[in-house]
Symmetry: C2
Subunit: 181 residues, 2 copies
DNA sequence: GTCTATATGAAGATAGAC
DNA sequence: GTCTATCTTCATATAGAC
């Protein structure tokens, strides 16, 4: 996470694990296999629980703001950003790994959101359409601007008050669009 | 671009440049300085021209779809994806570089879009609000879903017809929101 | 199963000739 | 200004003892 695949040596890993190099090589065929095992283990233990039990009953804009706040908070954690960076950086060398990360991470979030939106469509609160598309749309506006600045080291410290205010404006735009009526 | 900072050796660079290593070291203090010079040079020559002269006069949804199509096309080019990956991967080690990339890349796009939206606000076509926020919102929904899948090696080949159809739905959502009326 | 010690190669960087 | 040849360090990986 800290220095990437090429930037991390087996020596460092052995030292931090408190074992010697041959011990590592007795458990894993090589550096690449170790990397695959680590990253797969991360994917195994991935969880993204940010939809509470009141998700289907609460007032729409209220729950969307809550979702947005939770989502931004979880995704901007330093560890999550580092993981994102690593999977993106190694997507050419380990494409199956990055794909798997996408599936247990972003995609699963989108699917959860899609189920939520589908429910709201059935209740007639929002226009009918592809729930997954809507979920990706929502995830994009909530996450992308902040994450982009974070990934490029533009914003190191985050003002959560500003972010929450921003999320309210984002949700309003999401619900009503920008066309004047 | 192909193998990252640590994955590329001075030997390779020298070979590909058709010179010997000492020649490189006579021009640059070391590998890091060479990297900085290269990446800065990339930022110097950065251009993002995707707003035509008809941007301020054309019908709103039409021009937005056109912008979206151009934007997705330019940002999904292999070279642009590779650059994105590299700046993200090295954002911890070379934060000033990544920040600069953000400023000449995404930020400049957002500012161009913001000027466009401000104009449309003045004409009363869209609701008043922060034009830059709206620009980031628009850029996010147009770019983020596709780019995320691309960055994680989920989508290697792109079906441009599907993408264009998707952009039309995205623009419609952007303009009208998702609330049923 | 884990260690010390080592093989082997490649990396970044430089001395000194032309 | 550029080269050949080389230095030094550190990387991945392993042989063989305990």
């Amino acid at each position: 996470m800290a220095h990437g695949f090429n930037g991390t040596s087996i020596d460092q890993i052995a030292a931090q694990a408190g074992v010697s190099k041959p011990t590592i090589y007795s458990h894993f065929e090589g550096k690449e296999q170790l990397f695959v095992a680590i990253m797969n283990s991360i994917c195994d233990n991935f969880e993204n629980p940010f939809l509470g039990p009141d998700a289907d009953t609460a007032e729409l804009s209220t729950i969307l703001i809550k979702i947005a706040d939770n989502y931004t908070r979880s995704i901007l954690q330093p560890g999550v950003v580092a993981m994102h960076r690593l999977f993106v950086a190694e997507a050419e060398r380990f494409p199956e790994l990055s794909r798997r990360y996408y599936e247990v991470g972003p995609l699963r979030v989108h699917q959860t959101l899609a189920a939520f939106f589908k429910n709201r469509m059935a209740r007639g609160e929002i226009r009918d359409g592809d729930p997954l598309l809507l979920a990706q749309f929502f995830a994009a506006v909530v996450i992308a601007p902040m994450r982009t600045r974070r990934l490029f080291a533009v914003e190191t410290d985050i003002d959560w008050d500003v972010l929450d205010r921003r999320n309210r404006e984002t949700v309003a735009l999401f619900l009503d669009g920008c066309v004047k009526r």
